[in-house]
Amino acid sequence: MSQHQNSTAVGLDVGTSRIVIARRPEQDGSGDIQYHSQLNAFATIPYSKITAGVLEREHVPHTAIAGEIIVHGNESEKFAGLLDSEIRRPMSQGVLDPKEPESLRMMREILMSMLRLALPDQADCHKLCFTVPAAPLGAEGSLTYHEATVRQILGDLGYQAVAINEGLAVIYGELESSNYTGIGISCGGGLCNVCLAYLSVPVASFSIPKAGDFIDASAAAVTGERANRVRLSKEDSFHFNGFFADKMHQVIGVYYDDMIRSLVTALKDAFAKTKTIPQFQRPIPMVLSGGTTLPPGFRDRFEKLLWEQDFPISVSEIRMAQNPLHATAKGALVYAQSEL
């Protein structure tokens, strides 16, 4: 690392499902990147002094409000399971959920507790780069509210915040070897985000609103299970080997296929329509990241469906990110460091 980079740069992946912080531990910006990750979710439980005391003692992130305790982050899943209820989320489809009354407060609480834990010794001004989704295809409405709100929360917490597109962050995190030329794809909970960049310059980006949550909700509707249980089954044991152990996996497989097909079709259509795509001198790489890409065999299935299309750009390889869950946060960190 160069001398003038320092640890005041922070990468923050604000995803529908998870929030990930990336930073380098050393003052000069060197050392292996450290990641801190929490579910971007919360669960409410009835207030009692005893419960509040236990949570405090166990360092479980929570907030007590009006006769309720709101547990947020990773622990929310456990409490939701105990109470047989769904976890709630501040975000939906990549942006703050307008239907969730606690979205703003919870987003602030989760970000504040995570940043305090991750950066306990740094109270001064930090350059922080946070991810925002690309506009969904066919609904290129404004994402300004979401971006401005997150920026304001981070500004209030003392950070100099800049935004970066999720797909571009994947490129900055993974495609150094091709001089940041290629296609970055992040398949998260709410959206699949895509960006095509040439020599670090974003040329085209978009998102589709089919991702992990779509699979969970669709499979839950068919099987009659809770979406959260579908998600756990999907994350624990689902894989693309053509044989499904049970009905749940078979249904998950159907909706995974639907999601991948939608993504591949969107990729083809979007790039075919983009008039500003430069003449690449060589085939370019494509990187897959995000929690929804984790099941074994995802890459092969995606590749097979992509090759079935007459894809308008020559692709040299389709590969998984080195760490699919952290690629976006890593790219945001690289971008923040480059801004210093």
């Binding site: 910006g29 925002v132 597109n165 571009l168 085939p283 020559s314 590969r319």
Partner: protein, 403 residues
Amino acid sequence: MPSQIPRLTPNFSATPRIERRASRIADPVERLRFLRRATSPPRTAESHRTRRRPAGRLARNAGWLALAAAIVLAPGPRPAGSAGTFKQERGLLAAAGPAASPETQTIAPVPERVWRVERSESSEAYSNGLHVDLTFQVSNRPRARYPIYSLAGASTAAKTSDAPAGIVFHTTESLLAPFEEDQNRRLKQLGRNLLEVIRQERAYHYLIDRFGRVFSVVAESDAANHAGYSVWAGTDGIYVNLNDSFLAVAFEAQTGAAEAVTPAQIAAGKALTEMLRFRYGIDAANCITHAQVSVNPRNMVIGEHYDWASDFPFAGMGLPDNYAIPLPSLYAFGFGYGAAFVHATGSRWQGLDLAEQQVAKQAALEGITTSQYRAMLRHRYQDITSARTSTESKEDESEGAAK
């Protein structure tokens, strides 16, 4: 994504240079910082200045341009050196260079007899150990009969031929994975995807992948789209635009990359070069790199493509150091070159200096300045290319009428 997409058009005007410089920066953050700076759009005020400048310069230099045009267009002496003189000088100059050492001279001549041992639908095996995979072979347009121009003088072809006269070595400039065992799957996947692209673009006759496997892509009977604007000269004369006259052999490699060509690639390249040289009687001096032949007719400078601008393993291919051969694009057609190209060559090619000397010497013999002499050479190149364009258009028209 309003925050990141730039409003102004990014500056991609010098991307090969930017990419080369970026590739030398090890630190990912520094590399990103450099790329963002290098591709950032020009400021508006600067754009205005940039737009105004050519007009102002044109007006100021109108007198000089008129004089230059008069020199070029005036009926005057053509390059008068005889073909024999050129041949002799070319040979002498090349042989005089330190690179043409006795060691390399001994490996230059005719390759040993190489014959095909067996052939199946999917592969060929040769007596020198060469194995060629034919499963990706594809046809393109048949090789056209191509003109060969005299080394001096006329703009009309001295003769024509339809046999491959040489080999142009390329790099694919494609993405490379570290050559490690744990990267095996990725290495194979990259090579496979590359083959598909090359096949689709009919880019080369042969590809040698990282494992040294030789794939026939475009059939030898057909032209590959590998060296559009290009110039080379052999003892027979000058070849212009080498798609029809030269075979293309590409190494899965990047110029200047940390990942060098593998020993397996060099061994396979040597066996393939031997086979092709024997099959077509190709002169060792006609086995050259893309960087040596590539030209840009729009600005009349060489090095439109840089692949194998340096470090081509000529000795490994059983060839002399052909970087020492004076460049015909310079001494026969008056092309120039920039500092970036010289930089790309690593240690400056001896062939550049020898070609320069040849131009200076010939200009002195003509009794004119080197720039006047270069202008004449360029005029000849333009005559040749416009004649070829006109012939090709007529052929296209007659083919269209026949259909």
